[in-house]
């Protein structure tokens, strides 16, 4: 290898481990300059937008769940939000509360999976959570137990946690029994001390100092922390309804990715847990806000390395919120309202574990889908990840060994918890030093 004057680096990570789906990273460095940096999403497109055409609106929640095994509820809720707004339906407070509880279950499950199985091994120096469990059994056990509780909460309302079957346009197919809810409520309350300890543990892990400037985009709601509904807002003051998304955000295709890129005012932007906490921490209960500040992190945070603490805070909040919503649970005989389809275009969004998930459906008078468009969080974050990698690598220093550079890149990428199955429309590092 030519080490005489300018070091040439060529890093190629053909399969990124510990991410959801398939991606790769190509990095080419000449001396002190990054020549090429590409996050390549090569997972084949599954063309859901086309499958949806000609289907009845009633089939949509079961169909769109299949886009992602980790966040199926997010797809179901964004879809029913879009269709219900088109049909002029409000399913009422019981349905809203139970959808929020189901969604809390998905956040707990997805965030705990990411913190323990995907992200933490980087910082404690292990290849996997399985290897990490030998030296840190209590940490891994706690994480898997919380993940399991999230799954069980989803099962309460959806019969299973992967591709749950509870949600329909108009409400739910089924209301859980009061004694099952009471048993779940006791488990949620008992887990709150565990999730509080999880927040403190994630905050105690030393993280690189890596402040950057970026725009945060997240839903915001008048009275509650954004989960299953809200208006689309940006940290620069934008506040719009789902129907206006297209006017402010644009999607584009690049050669190296089967996921479409998104930009806002011609710039990359951030969606996800950190974006939500940065813009809506004031919507959290005082005790959760106090816990956030006890971590020593200054909020809002400009460092993506705080995304793991942000996820832990949301796990803690989701447990307390689900417990709160289930406190005075009443069984209802009909957990859904009647639905009459109507022709037109409906828009809906919600906060998937990884961020804003936007849907648009054109429907005919029979209730059949004419056209569908779905913008998932990972494709929105794609441009921001590449921008972050460039800035973060320069800041980290390009003189590190290939192995150190690769690990740093992977940490940066995992901060976004990219879900490639969703986006394909994730990572091998292809780095070249020339």
């Amino acid at each position: 290898m030519d080490e005489t004057q300018t070091r040439k680096v060529n890093i190629h990570v053909p399969v990124l481990a510990r991410v959801e789906g398939e991606g790769a990273l190509h990095l080419r460095i000449r001396g002190d300059v990054i020549e090429t940096l590409m996050l390549q999403i090569y997972e084949p497109p599954r063309l859901f937008e086309k499958f949806l055409e000609g289907r009845s609106f009633e089939e949509v929640p079961d169909m769109v769940a299949r886009i992602c095994g980790i966040c199926p509820v997010a797809y179901q809720i964004s879809a029913v939000n879009a269709l219900e707004s088109l049909f002029g339906i409000d399913p009422g407070p019981w349905v809203h509360a139970m959808r929020r509880v189901l969604y809390c279950g998905e956040w707990i499950q997805s965030h705990c999976l990411h913190i323990h199985l995907l992200a933490a091994p980087d910082y404690l120096g292990y290849e996997s959570a399985i290897a990490m469990a030998h030296d840190h059994p209590a940490i891994v056990r706690r994480g898997l137990a919380l993940q399991g509780l999230g799954n069980d909460l989803m099962t309460l309302l959806g019969a299973r946690s992967v591709h749950p079957v509870g949600i329909k346009v108009g409400g739910f197919h089924h209301a859980p029994r009061a004694d099952d809810v009471a048993a779940m409520l006791a488990r949620l309350r008992a887990a709150l001390s565990e999730s509080e300890a999880l927040v403190r543990w994630t905050a105690s892990i030393p993280m690189p100092d890596d402040e950057q400037t970026f725009t945060c985009v997240a839903l915001r709601d008048a009275g509650e922390y954004p989960i299953h509904r809200g208006r689309i807002t940006a940290s620069d003051g934008l506040a719009i309804d789902a129907a206006q998304y297209d006017r402010h955000f644009t999607e584009y295709q690049v050669e190296h990715s089967t996921a479409l890129y998104s930009q806002y005012r011609d710039q990359p932007y951030l969606v996800g847990p950190l974006a939500r906490l940065n813009t809506s921490a004031d919507r959290l209960p005082d005790v959760v806000q106090q816990l956030m500040h006890d971590t020593g992190v200054r909020w809002p945070s400009r460092s993506m390395f705080h995304s793991m603490v942000a996820r832990a805070v949301e796990v803690h909040y989701a447990l307390s919120e689900a417990a709160h919503l289930l406190e005075n649970y009443m069984e209802v005989p009909a957990p859904a309202v009647a639905v009459t389809p109507r022709a037109g275009i409906g828009y809906g969004c919600s906060e998937a574990p990884r961020g804003l998930l936007w849907h648009r459906y054109q429907v005919d008078a029979e209730g059949l889908i004419v056209d569908a468009r779905i913008v998932p969080p990972t494709s929105q974050n794609q441009a921001r990840i590449e921008e972050d990698l460039r800035l973060s690598l320069q800041d980290f220093g390009l003189r590190h060994s290939d192995e150190e550079l690769r690990l740093h890149c992977e940490k940066v990428i995992r901060n976004y918890d990219p879900c490639i199955s969703c986006a394909t429309h994730f990572l091998k590092l292809h780095a070249e030093r020339l």
Partner: protein
Amino acid sequence: MESTAKPKVAVHKFSSCDGCQLAFLNLGAALMQVAELVDFTHFAEAGPLAPDAAVDIAFVEGSIATPDDLQRIARVREQSRFLVTIGACATAGGVQALRNLANAGEWIAGVYARPEHIHSLDRSTPIAEHVKVDLELWGCPVNGRQVLGALRALLFGVMPAQENDKVCMECKRRQTVCVMVTRGRACMGPVTRTGCGALCPSFGRDCYACYGPAENPNTAALARRFEGLGLVPEAVARRFLFINNGAPAFRDAGLKSGERHDG
């Protein structure tokens, strides 16, 4: 070292939603017990990367959808004593096999501005269409009980008992009231393989066949019953052409109903 004596297991992903791998990752404390029994040599989402290492059991999620997939699955087969497909994508092509019934090129052009950059096969196909498969686990998604059952049996050197019963049998065992008889729902239970626990009928709704066709499914009789419930032929076709549209029994029934509509 002691760990080298453990059976080696790989989990591979092809075109899919990642949901079937979660049957492992959602096992909770049991996942750590499984990791005591076997060595996960390749399981990208969990961390270990050795896609070409020889293993005792390879679990395969996802359908074959790209030219590269064809080469990868051939290597997986060469390196694996037992190859087990997990889920509807690997076993029947998945919901994305709907493109087999349409013009995939046109569809890609409909979604992507520059379709020439998308490297995708025209058809999404099950693993068994390309290599020998030793065991197929149906379901969208498969659950922990199925993958642990298969793993346990194979570690003992036997094939696990296959569940070929219909969902109807499961409803009877669970004393779930029939949603077709009492509520007139177009339930796919009479032709669908059990294994999920008859979840949808227990929620008062129709089964939508995510576990694929049962043994000897009488799809023609069910299609007629659906018409009797007031479904137009096109709607009947959509019932069959859904999650497991690539399974021959469902594909044929769905296309037949669709033709009735066209005729």
